[in-house]
C-alpha cells in the first residue's frame, strides 16, 4: 500500500515542479518592462533599448526561449544572468548559505519549542497555562514580520545596544564570524511561524489524549509516559508533520521580508533584486528553487505523515 502511494506521490511532485517551472517562465515573461529597459533606465533611447534587447536575446519568441530554458534545465543549467553574465546557479549559491542558515536555525528553534508548547498545553487543555501560552503565541503570530523586526531593532539594538541592527556590509560567508546578526532575524521568523505548528501539535495531542483508544490503553494500567510516547504522540504526529511542511513554506516567505529588513544577503533579497531588475533567468532560477523546496518538503511531509498513521505502518 505504502509502496504504491510513494511512487504516486513522487510522480505528482515531479508534475508539480514541471507545472511550476512553466508557470514561472510564463509569469515572469508577463512582468511589465524588461531587462533592457531597466538597465538603460530613463536615459535609454528606443534604439538603444531595441539593440540591447536583441543582444540579450529578449526579442526571441516565447516558445523558443521556453524550450531553450527547459533544455538547459535538463542538464542542470539554469541559464545566465542578463545583468552580470554569471551563471544563475552561481547567483543562487551566493545567497543560499545565508538563507539556509537563517531558516535552518529558525527551524531548529521552532520544532522543539512547538513540541514543548504543543504537548504541554495539549495535555492540559483548558488550563490557565494553556490559555496564557496560547494568548502569547497568537499575539506574536498577529504582528507582521516587518513591524516585529522594527520593534526588536528599536529595543535590542538602539535602546539596549545588545545586538546589531542589520548585517550591513557582511557577505554570506562572513556571517559565520558574526552570528549575533542572525539573532533578531531568527527571533522574528520563530515568533511568526511558531504559533501554527504549536497549535497543531496541541490539537493533535489533546485529541489523541482524550480518544477512546487512549482511554482504553490507560485502563490496562500503562504508565503515563508510555501512553504519551506510544499512543498519543504517534497519533498526533501525522497532521503535525504536514503543518511542519507549511511552516517551512512560511519561513521561505518570511525570509524575503526579514532579509530586506536586516540587510541580509540571502535568497530572499536576491529574488527581490532580480525581479526589480527584470533579470528573467535569475528570477526563474530563484522561483524554481523556492517552488522546488516547497514541493519537496511537502512531498516528504506527506510520505512521513502517511507512514506515521499506525494503520498504514502495520499494513506495510
Amino acid at each position: 500500500m505504502t509502496l504504491a502511494y510513494v511512487p504516486r506521490r513522487v510522480a505528482v511532485a515531479v508534475l508539480q515542479i514541471l507545472g511550476v517551472a512553466v508557470a514561472v517562465f510564463a509569469l515572469s515573461a508577463l512582468l511589465p518592462g524588461d531587462t533592457a529597459v531597466v538597465i538603460l533606465g530613463k536615459h535609454g533611447t528606443p534604439e538603444q533599448i531595441e539593440a540591447l534587447r536583441q543582444r540579450l536575446g529578449l526579442d526571441e519568441p516565447f516558445v523558443r526561449r521556453l524550450l531553450t530554458w527547459f533544455g538547459g534545465l535538463a542538464h542542470g543549467d539554469l541559464g545566465t544572468s542578463l545583468l552580470t553574465g554569471a551563471p544563475v546557479t552561481a547567483e543562487l549559491a551566493d545567497g543560499l548559505a545565508t538563507t539556509a542558515v537563517l531558516t535552518g536555525v529558525a527551524l531548529a528553534v521552532i520544532v522543539p519549542l512547538a513540541l514543548l508548547i504543543g504537548v504541554t498545553t495539549g495535555l492540559r487543555q483548558g488550563s490557565r497555562l494553556d490559555r496564557a501560552v496560547n494568548s502569547v503565541i497568537v499575539v506574536l503570530d498577529s504582528i507582521p514580520e516587518f513591524a516585529l523586526g522594527l520593534l526588536l531593532v528599536a529595543l535590542f539594538s538602539l535602546r539596549l545596544g545588545w545586538l546589531p541592527a542589520t548585517a550591513a556590509g557582511l557577505s554570506g560567508t562572513s556571517l559565520a564570524t558574526h552570528p549575533a546578526v542572525l539573532v533578531l532575524p531568527v527571533v522574528v521568523l520563530v515568533c511568526k511561524q511558531l504559533c501554527a505548528l504549536a497549535r497543531q501539535i496541541r490539537i493533535g495531542v489533546a485529541e489523541a489524549n482524550t480518544a477512546e483508544y487512549t482511554r482504553h490503553v490507560r485502563t490496562h494500567g500503562l504508565r503515563e509516559s508510555t501512553v504519551l510516547f506510544k499512543h498519543v504522540l504517534p497519533n498526533a504526529a501525522g497532521p503535525s508533520v504536514q503543518q511542519l511542511a507549511r511552516t517551512v513554506d512560511g519561513l521561505l516567505g518570511g525570509v524575503v521580508v526579514v532579509e530586506a529588513l536586516f540587510a541580509l544577503p540571502g535568497l530572499g533579497s536576491g529574488f527581490v533584486d532580480a525581479v526589480m531588475a527584470r533579470d528573467l533567468p535569475t528570477v526563474q532560477g530563484y522561483a524554481l528553487v523556492f517552488a522546488g523546496t516547497t514541493v519537496t518538503v511537502n512531498l516528504l511531509a506527506d510520505i512521513a505523515a502517511y507512514r506515521l498513521v499506525p494503520r498504514h505502518r502495520s499494513a506495510s
Binding site: 533606465g41 530613463k42 538603444q48 522594527l150 528599536a154 557577505s171 530586506a260 527584470r278
Partner: protein, 510 residues
C-alpha cells in the same frame, strides 16, 4: 514591499522615536565588519546587480558616489550649478564658441601615470559612442572627435559641430569621468580620484583606500566602504545603531527620527529634486493649449508642498531649477484660479473630461501627489484617475504610454536640462512631446551667444515659452536628505550631481 513602505516608515518613526531616546551614541552592537578605526562606512541602496564600476554607464546614486571616489571629472558643479575646476585648470572658447581649449592640472592616476589630454579624448569618445550606453552621451554627441586633438600632454582642443558657449556644463556632468586611455575592463578600475580600488562585490560591499597622491591632497579617511542596504528602514537602523556613518536617501517620514537621535543628524539640501507632472502636448487632450492651461490653473501647488512634502520643500512655478543660474525669477508665481480653469475647459468643450494620471512608488511623493492632484482637478470638473505603475520601468513606460504622469529631475545646470528635456533633438528625455521651433531657436541663439546678459534674456524667453506650452507642471522642489553620524565632520548638505555631494574624501571621523 514598496506598498508597505509608508506604513513601515511610520512604524519605524514611532517605535524608534519612542524607544531610541536613550544613550544611543554608546550603541556598540556593531557587526564588527569594519576592520579599520579610520574606515568611513556609507550605506546606499544598490538595487542588486545593476551596479558597475564603469563610471561612464553609471545611473544609480551608488554608482555615481563610487565613481566620485575613484575618478575625477574635468569640472564640477557648485550648489547653484555654476562650474568649478577639477581636473581642468582652465577652459576657454574661441570667438565662435565651436573650439574649446582645455588645460589640465597636473594629476596622476592610481598607477602613477599622469592624466593626459589623450585620456580625456579617449574617455569622451567612449562616452559619446552610443554603443557604450552612457547617460552623458547626448551631452558629448556634439563633439567632432575627428577635428578634436591633444595639443600637448596637458592641453587639448575640443571642436563642436555647432557653437555652444554653455558646453563646459557637459564637462561636469555625472558619467563624464576621465579614465586611462584604452580602458575597457572596470573589474579593478584605475582612476585619478581620491580613493583607489581594493575590492568590490556587486550587490555587496565596495572597499577603497586613500590615494595619498591625489591632486587635491590626501583624503581624510584611510578607507572608504560602501555597503548595500536597499531598505530605507534598514539604512536608518544601521545609522542609528552606529553600524554605518552615512546613510544616503532618507525619506521625509524618517527625517525626524534621525534628527531626534543623539548620535546622528540629517543633512538636507533644499531645491534638490524637481517634482512635476508631465502632460503630453503632442496628443489629445493636452494638444489643445486651453486644456493644458486649465490644468495648470486648476492645481494648488501650495497645498501640494504643504501636504505631500510635509512643508519640507519649496513651491514650484512650472519651471525647472529654482535657485540656479539662468532661473527666471521675474516670471510671476502661477496661482490657482478655479474659475479661470473652468472657463478654459468650457471654451475647449472639455468639461467632464477624464484621463489617467500615471504614478508610481519610484518616488515617495508621486502617489500622494497624484491623489491630491486628482482631487484638485476634480474641483474644476475633470475626472482624473491615478494609475500606479511598476517603479522599475516607470520612466520608460510613461515616455510611451498615457497622457499625463509624475516625473522628477535632480538638479542639473539649467542649460543641460533645457537641452536634454525640451529640445526636439533630445527626445529620449522629453516626457511631454514638446516640440517647438520657437523654443529651439531661442535656445540655440542663447547658447551660441558669448554675451552672458543676452544669453540670460534669450533663455528666459525660451523658458517662458516652455512654461506655457511645454506641458510640464512643476509643483514643487523636494529636499534631498542624507543621515550622518555625529562622529563625522566635514560633510555638508549637498544636492546630488553637485561636487559637494558624496564628498567622502573630506569626511573626518571623530
Amino acid at each position: 514591499m514598496n506598498a508597505g513602505g509608508i506604513s513601515r516608515r511610520r512604524v519605524l518613526s514611532t517605535t524608534l522615536g519612542a524607544l531610541a531616546l536613550g544613550p544611543l551614541a554608546a550603541c556598540g552592537a556593531n557587526t564588527g565588519a569594519s576592520s579599520s578605526e579610520n574606515r568611513l562606512r556609507v550605506a546606499f541602496s544598490t538595487s542588486g546587480d545593476r551596479e558597475s564600476l564603469d563610471p561612464h554607464t553609471s545611473t544609480l546614486f551608488v554608482d555615481q558616489a563610487r565613481s566620485k571616489a575613484l575618478f575625477d571629472t574635468l569640472l564640477g558643479y557648485d550648489q547653484d550649478m555654476s562650474l568649478i575646476p577639477r581636473l581642468a585648470e582652465s577652459w576657454e572658447p574661441d570667438d565662435t564658441g565651436k573650439r574649446w581649449r582645455i588645460r589640465l592640472r597636473e594629476a596622476r592616476f592610481h598607477d602613477n601615470k599622469p592624466v593626459t589630454a589623450e585620456d580625456v579624448l579617449y574617455s569622451y569618445r567612449r562616452i559619446a559612442d552610443p554603443a557604450t550606453g552612457s547617460p552623458a552621451q547626448p551631452q558629448l554627441s556634439g563633439v567632432d572627435f575627428e577635428a578634436s586633438k591633444a595639443s600637448s600632454d596637458r592641453e587639448l582642443v575640443l571642436v563642436l559641430s555647432e557653437p555652444d558657449f554653455t558646453f563646459p556644463a557637459a564637462m561636469g556632468a555625472p558619467a563624464t569621468e576621465i579614465v586611462p586611455a584604452g580602458t575597457t575592463d572596470f573589474g579593478k578600475p584605475v582612476g585619478s580620484g581620491p580613493f583607489r580600488f581594493v575590492s568590490f562585490e556587486t550587490g555587496g560591499s565596495a572597499v577603497f583606500e586613500k590615494f595619498a597622491d591625489h591632486w587635491n591632497g590626501a583624503p581624510k579617511p584611510a578607507e572608504l566602504e560602501f555597503v548595500s542596504v536597499n531598505e530605507e528602514d534598514a539604512r536608518v537602523s544601521a545609522l542609528l545603531s552606529g553600524q554605518v556613518h552615512y546613510s544616503h536617501d532618507i525619506g521625509a517620514n524618517s527625517v525626524s527620527t534621525v534628527d531626534n537621535d543623539s548620535g546622528a543628524r540629517i543633512l538636507a539640501a533644499p531645491y534638490s529634486t524637481m517634482q512635476a507632472v508631465a502632460f503630453k502636448v503632442d496628443r489629445p487632450p493636452f494638444d489643445d493649449n486651453r486644456v493644458l492651461r486649465a490644468v495648470l490653473s486648476g492645481v494648488d501647488r501650495e497645498a501640494l508642498v504643504k501636504v505631500v512634502l510635509n512643508e519640507r520643500g519649496k513651491l514650484g512655478n512650472d519651471l525647472f531649477g529654482r535657485g540656479l543660474k539662468y532661473y527666471p525669477e521675474e516670471i510671476p508665481q502661477r496661482e490657482r484660479d478655479v474659475d479661470h480653469a473652468r472657463g478654459l475647459l468650457r471654451e475647449a468643450g472639455a468639461e467632464g473630461l477624464d484621463f489617467e494620471l500615471h504614478t508610481s512608488s519610484a518616488d515617495p511623493y508621486f502617489e500622494p501627489a497624484a491623489n491630491l492632484i486628482a482631487e484638485q482637478l476634480g474641483e474644476i470638473g475633470l475626472k482624473v484617475t491615478p494609475r500606479v505603475g511598476p517603479s522599475e520601468t516607470y520612466y520608460s513606460d510613461i515616455k510611451k504610454k498615457g497622457v499625463a504622469g509624475h516625473t522628477r529631475t535632480a538638479t542639473l545646470p539649467i542649460t543641460s536640462y533645457l537641452s536634454k528635456r525640451l529640445r526636439e533633438a533630445s527626445v529620449s528625455a522629453n516626457y511631454t512631446g514638446y516640440d517647438s521651433s520657437e523654443f529651439d531657436n531661442r535656445y540655440d541663439q542663447a547658447v551660441a551667444t558669448p554675451d552672458e546678459r543676452k544669453r540670460d534674456e534669450l533663455l528666459t524667453e525660451a523658458q517662458r515659452h516652455a512654461r506655457d506650452h511645454g506641458g510640464m507642471m512643476v509643483w514643487g522642489f523636494s529636499d534631498w536628505n542624507v543621515g550622518v553620524s555625529k562622529r563625522v565632520s566635514g560633510l555638508r548638505a549637498a544636492t546630488p550631481n553637485s561636487t559637494r555631494w558624496a564628498r567622502f574624501d573630506e569626511a573626518e571621523l571623530g
